[in-house]
Amino acid sequence: MTLRAAPAGRAGAWAALGLLSVLTAVLGLGVGSLGWEPPWVTLAADPAGMSLIGDLRAPRTLGAALVGALLGLSGAVAQGLFRNPLAEPYLLGSSAGAGLCMALLLTVGLPWSLDVGWWARLGLTGAAFVGSVAGVALTLSLARGAAHTLRLLLAGVVVGVVLGAGTQLMMVWSGEAWRVMQAFMLGNTALLGWPACLLMGGVLVVTLPLAWALARVLDALSLGEDTARTLGVPLGTARSALVAVLALSTAAAVAQAGLIAFVGLAAPHLARPWLGASHRSLVLASAWVGGLLLALADVLARWIIAPQELPVGVLTAVIGGVYLLVLLHRRRA
């Protein structure tokens, strides 16, 4: 009976995902400034190979995967919460808030001449995180709570536009801010290290299970808020929890890697046809697909014109975008 059997194709899809992940991991460890070389060869031949792989390539690949996972998770939550297939993680003003906070820091300035290394590093990254959360908080206060989804959406757009304008203004005033913000807005995975991985892993360990626990709430929300309420969904609490997941995940990703577009939007759409639309599986699948997408894009970014690099956001758009076009075409045909 169709009700009982999960499509056999799904198990195959998960297996394929696993296989692709292993492949991407091996590629990530093997692609360096000289192009591709099997990691075991590097380990054997190069005395600095252990450090290269362990200190640079491994955390960078894992970091990219974690950023992608956080963005994919946020994308799935945003699309379920707003019942909109075009929703993406930056909707609630998180990216605009991060950008403005960083620009403020750069314009007002920390005492750069002091050799206070970790404080300076924490400064920009911490500013992005704080700004991101503050952006969402501003949206929530503008919408007077998470009670009305449409109002939340509109408030998010307004906050994004206004804060974005503020950032642009600050970029015009300060040359330092201009340079750093340009890099921020393109997104960058080149400098992710183990501390960044730890931080993002910590956030993912909290937000992913929480979002998964709310999977049935997200399913019920797809029927509209009235029906969801009659089905017993505690709408206010549920929405607040989902917004919190969205804010935290996006803030962590943006703080470490800047604004990487498209992963949050594309990952749920890529996951749905193969791995199921019920949020029970979609939340996990979207995170996994997002991580895979960004890790693969990062590998390609450093491989194609090694030792130079392409902006990783361009590659996520190319890979994800081309695949979505193929899906669309197949659907119409």
Partner: protein, 260 residues
């Protein structure tokens, strides 16, 4: 009516913004019957239904619920107008969402034998078994409507509230819905539907006639006073007549009926 009413509305008032939509509605709804709420546009039918569902708080008055003893689980199932749905979810998965009130909120709960049986039964009742594995996005508007009806049935609640359940359905499927609702009423449920389609509404057991936010009449479908209330509330644009043993609403669009 010897059975005690399941839902009692006492002097119910409801507002939408500054407008008072319902005033002074006193209603006693019992189980084991199909109640049809009729009235012209803006009479407050949907508002009444939403108040009963708990989606709209009453501005004044109250609503008392007294279901038969020994009832556990959800008290009502709701089918709203133009329910959205996740286009990528399959029909079976969408209908299974109706079982949520019986299950926990953990992602792995659900899928018990009772749930599966309820879903299968609901699909059979609405003639949607053929589409069980298809995604919702592949269905027509009318088919989606039936899926949502199946979802409401799958909840197996004693009270079923339906707002325009046949809006996109053709005549054969309207008949199917009428049969389903009749059968559920016969099984002892309290079915309350808001219907624009008077011919279908007249197949119910009892009519609730609303006009201008007030209760104009309430009684069995065959009652002549109810018929007169219906004709009056629709400004004599319809006439309720018995045709071939069935109640029908005949349109009465004569030119002299409404001389300017």
């Amino acid at each position: 009516m010897t059975t005690p009413p399941w839902i009692t509305c006492l002097d119910l008032h409801a507002t939408r913004g500054p407008r008072t939509v319902l005033q002074g509605v006193d209603l006693r709804l019992t189980g084991g019957a199909w109640w049809s709420v009729v009235g012209p546009n803006g009479a407050g039918k949907s508002t009444l239904l939403r108040c009963l569902a708990g989606l709209l708080p009453a501005a004044a008055g109250r609503i008392d619920w007294r279901l038969p003893a020994g009832h556990t689980g959800p008290t009502l199932a709701w089918l709203g107008q133009d329910t959205p749905g996740d286009e990528a979810l399959s029909v079976a998965e969408t209908v299974a969402l109706g079982r949520l009130p019986h299950q926990g909120w953990w992602p792995w709960s659900g899928g018990s034998a009772q749930d599966r049986d309820a879903v299968e039964q609901a699909l059979v009742d609405t003639d949607m078994t053929w589409a069980a594995g298809r995604p919702l996005g592949a269905l027509s508007g009318g088919e989606r409507q039936r899926v949502h009806l199946a979802r409401a049935l799958a909840t197996q609640a004693p009270v079923l509230l339906l707002d325009e359940p046949v809006a996109h359905l053709d005549a054969p499927h309207q008949r199917l819905v009428a049969r389903v609702l009749r059968r559920e009423a016969a099984r002892g449920r309290c079915i309350i539907s808001v219907l624009h389609e008077l011919p279908l509404a007249l197949q119910a057991d009892r009519l609730v006639v609303l006009g201008a936010g007030r209760l104009q009449a309430e009684g069995p479908v065959a009652s002549p006073s109810v018929h007169r209330a219906v004709e009056q509330v629709f400004d004599q644009a319809v006439q309720v007549r018995c045709v071939d043993g069935r109640w029908a609403a005949l349109p009465c669009f004569d030119a002299d009926a409404d001389t300017p």
